[in-house]
C-alpha cells in the first residue's frame, strides 16, 4: 500500500483531457497483490476441506494435502450412516435453532427498535440505555448463568433451552432503532393515524415494510450468531439428537482420538455444513445493510 501511489496525481488535472480515466484507474501492482494474498489465505482452508473430503481415511495423512481423490461419495454415505443418520438430524436442528431464533429475534428487535425510535413516552431513554448496556454484556459469559436458570426451571436439554436465550439481541434492537429512526417518517405515521389506522396496523403495514432491509440485516446477523454459538447448545443439551451441527461435529472430532477413521467423516461433515451457508451468503449479501454497523446511517 505504501509503495502503491507516488504523488502522480499532482499534475494539474486539467492538462490531460485526452485520457483522464486511464490516468485515474491505472492498475498498481502492490494493492492487487495484497488482495490476492488475502484471498488465497482466506480460501485455503475451504479449498483444503473440499479436497480432504474426497480422501479415504488411509489417504488423509499420506497423500499430498491438496491432491484430490475419489472417495467423496463413500465418505458421504459413511457420514449418513454414522449414528443412524444423526448428521442430517443435526442439520435440521441447526436450521431450526438459527432460522426460528433469528426470525423471532428480528421481530422483537424490529418492534422494540421502532417503538424506541418513533414514540415519545416517559422512560424511553432509560429503557434504551438499559437495553444498550446489554450490548456490552459479554454474550458467552451469560451462557453459564442461563444454563443455571434453565436447569432450575427443568428446561435443560430441550429445543427451548437453546432457542429462548437466542431471541433477545440488544445489538439487534440498537440497529432496528437506528434504521427505524432514519427510514420511517413521522409524517407517514401521523397520516396513517389520521386515517384511523390502529397502531398494530401501522406497525405491520407501514413501519415493517419500510424497515425490511434493516430487518433482513438483523436476521442474517442473528442467524450467524446462533449458528456460531457453540457454548450455549454445548452446555444446554445432552441428547445428541438435539445437537446443532457445531456441537455434533465437535463430538465426532473428539471421538476421532480413539477412532481415527472418524476424521474423514468429520471433515466431510464440515464441508457439507459450510457449503449451504456460503451459498446463502453469496446470494443474500446484497441485502446486507452493513452501513448500519459502520455508522453511515444517520438519524
Amino acid at each position: 500500500m505504501t509503495t502503491a501511489a507516488p504523488a502522480r496525481v499532482a499534475a494539474p488535472v486539467g492538462t490531460v483531457p485526452s485520457r483522464p480515466t486511464a490516468r485515474r484507474t491505472r492498475v498498481s501492482l502492490a494493492p492487487t497483490l495484497v488482495l490476492a494474498v488475502g484471498a488465497a489465505y482466506c480460501l485455503l482452508p475451504v479449498a483444503w476441506v473440499l479436497v480432504a473430503a474426497t480422501k479415504s481415511p488411509a489417504e488423509l495423512f499420506s497423500t499430498f494435502t491438496l491432491a484430490p481423490s475419489t472417495s467423496l461419495w463413500r465418505n458421504i454415505t459413511g457420514l449418513s450412516a454414522y449414528g443412524h443418520g444423526v448428521f442430517w438430524r443435526w442439520t435440521v436442528n441447526t436450521a431450526i435453532y438459527a432460522g426460528v431464533g433469528a426470525l423471532a429475534s428480528s421481530f422483537v428487535s424490529g418492534l422494540s427498535g421502532y417503538t424506541l425510535a418513533k414514540f415519545r413516552f416517559p422512560g424511553r431513554t432509560a429503557i434504551f440505555n438499559v437495553l444498550l448496556a446489554g450490548v456490552l454484556v459479554p454474550g458467552i459469559t451469560l451462557a453459564l448463568p442461563q444454563y443455571l436458570l434453565i436447569a432450575k426451571l427443568g428446561l435443560a436439554n430441550t429445543y427451548l433451552s437453546v432457542l429462548l436465550p437466542s431471541v433477545l439481541s440488544p445489538y439487534g434492537i440498537y440497529l432496528a432503532r437506528v434504521y427505524a429512526g432514519a427510514a420511517v417518517s413521522d409524517t407517514l405515521i401521523e397520516a396513517a393515524r389520521t386515517d384511523g389506522a390502529s397502531e398494530w396496523r401501522i406497525l405491520a403495514q407501514v413501519a415493517f415494510p419500510i424497515m425490511r432491509p434493516g430487518l433482513v440485516t438483523i436476521f442474517l446477523f442473528q442467524f450467524v450468531a446462533i449458528w456460531n454459538n457453540f457454548l450455549l447448545p454445548f452446555i444446554m443439551l445432552t441428547d445428541d439428537r438435539k445437537f446443532p451441527l457445531t456441537v455434533g461435529l465437535y463430538t465426532m472430532l473428539n471421538r476421532g482420538n480413539t477412532l481415527p477413521s472418524l476424521y474423514t467423516l468429520t471433515i466431510t461433515g464440515a464441508l457439507l455444513s459450510i457449503l449451504p451457508l456460503i451459498a446463502l451468503f453469496l446470494t443474500l449479501q446484497r441485502y446486507w445493510r452493513l452501513d448500519l454497523i459502520s455508522g453511515a446511517v444517520k438519524n
Binding site: I140, L144, P145, L149, P170
Partner: protein
C-alpha cells in the same frame, strides 16, 4: 416529534399512551428473563456453597449455605484462573490490532480504483464469516498437523526446520483462527463506512496535490474512525470470551490444558469439577473484567462509538 392535536379534532394524531409499553413488552420481558434474572441468579450462586456434613450421605447431608465472598477469594487466589486471564489478554493484544490493521488495509485497497480483483477479493476474504468458529478451528486444526499442513510440506521439501504449530506455537495457532474468521467481516464494515465518505473531499485533496496514500491516511482513516472504534469494542469483548477455538483444538494437541482461557476454566469448574459456585463467581469476575476492558478501550479512543446516536 408527534404533535399534540389541536383541540376539537376528533381523530388522533398521537398514539394512546399505553401503546409504546405494550410494544416494548416482549423485548423487556425477554431482557429480564434471559439477561437480568440469570445475572442476578449467578450473583446469588456466587455467594453460596455446599456444606457437607458427616460422610455426605443421606438426606440433608449436603446443604447449600451462605458463603459470603469466599468463592471470590478462592477464584482470585487461583493461579490457574490468572494464567487463563493472562492468556486471554495476550490473545486479545495480538489479535485485535493485527485483525483490525489488516481489515483497515484491505478496506482501503478495496476503496482504491487502481487495485484489480476487488470484487473477488471482497467475497473471498468475507467468506470465512459464514464459517462458525468450531468448524474453522476444526479445519485449521488439521492444517496445523505436520502430516497435512502444506506449510510443513514446503519446509520439508526445502529441508528447513518445521515449526510445531500445535506445540510451542499454540498461541499463534489460535490467534490465526481468530484473524481468519474476523478480518473479512471487519473489512466489509470499514469498507462500507469508506463508501459513505463524500467523494468531493478526495477531489479537493487531489487538486491540492495529495497522494493516494496521504488521502488514505489523512482523510479516509479519520472519516471511518467511528466504524473502527465500533469494531474495536466488539472485537475486544469477544477476545476475553475466547472459547470455541482452543476448545475445538484440544482433541488434536496436548498443549492446551482444560483451563487455557477464562471461559474454559469456568466450563471446567462448573461441569467437570461440578463446582457451580466458584464457576459463578468466576463468571462475574470475567464479565466485570470484560466491561472494564471495553470501557477502558472506549475511553482510550475518546468514546465516540455511540455518540452519533441522537438521543
Amino acid at each position: 416529534m408527534a404533535l399534540a392535536s389541536p383541540a376539537g379534532r376528533r381523530r388522533r394524531r398521537t398514539a394512546p399512551s399505553a401503546v409504546p409499553y405494550v410494544f416494548l413488552t416482549p423485548g423487556i420481558v425477554l431482557f429480564i428473563l434471559t439477561f437480568l434474572v440469570p445475572i442476578g441468579y449467578t450473583v446469588w450462586q456466587s455467594l453460596r456453597r455446599v456444606r457437607v456434613s458427616g460422610l455426605g450421605l443421606g438426606r440433608g447431608a449436603r446443604r447449600e449455605v451462605f458463603a459470603g465472598l469466599s468463592n471470590y477469594r478462592e477464584i482470585l487466589g487461583d493461579a490457574e484462573f490468572w494464567a487463563s486471564m493472562q492468556r486471554a489478554l495476550t490473545y486479545g493484544l495480538i489479535l485485535v490490532p493485527t485483525m483490525l490493521g489488516l481489515a483497515l488495509l484491505l478496506a482501503l485497497i478495496l476503496d482504491t480504483p487502481r487495485a484489480r480483483l476487488r470484487r473477488f477479493g471482497r467475497l473471498a476474504i468475507f467468506l470465512p464469516y459464514a464459517v462458525p468458529s468450531v468448524i474453522a478451528s476444526l479445519l485449521w486444526g488439521f492444517l496445523y498437523l505436520p502430516a497435512v499442513s502444506p506449510l510443513h510440506y514446503v519446509l520439508r521439501a526445502l529441508d528447513l526446520p518445521q515449526p510445531d504449530l500445535l506445540g510451542g506455537g499454540i498461541m499463534g495457532a489460535v490467534v490465526n483462527i481468530g484473524i481468519w474468521g474476523g478480518v473479512g467481516f471487519n473489512m466489509v464494515v470499514i469498507y462500507t463506512a469508506l463508501r459513505a465518505v463524500p467523494h468531493d473531499l478526495y477531489e479537493a485533496a487531489r487538486l491540492d496535490g495529495c497522494s493516494e496514500v496521504q488521502i488514505a491516511l489523512r482523510i479516509k482513516v479519520p472519516q471511518v474512525m467511528p466504524a473502527l472504534i465500533m469494531t474495536g469494542v466488539f472485537s475486544t469483548i469477544a477476545t476475553l470470551q475466547v472459547f470455541s477455538e482452543p476448545f475445538t483444538l484440544r482433541p488434536l494437541t496436548n498443549s492446551l490444558q482444560s483451563t487455557w482461557t477464562p471461559l474454559m476454566k469456568i466450563y471446567t469448574d462448573a461441569f467437570v469439577r461440578n463446582d457451580i459456585y466458584t464457576a459463578a463467581a468466576a463468571s462475574i469476575v470475567v464479565a466485570c473484567a470484560t466491561l472494564l476492558v471495553s470501557f477502558g478501550f472506549l475511553r482510550l479512543v475518546q468514546a465516540r462509538a455511540f455518540s452519533q446516536e441522537d438521543r
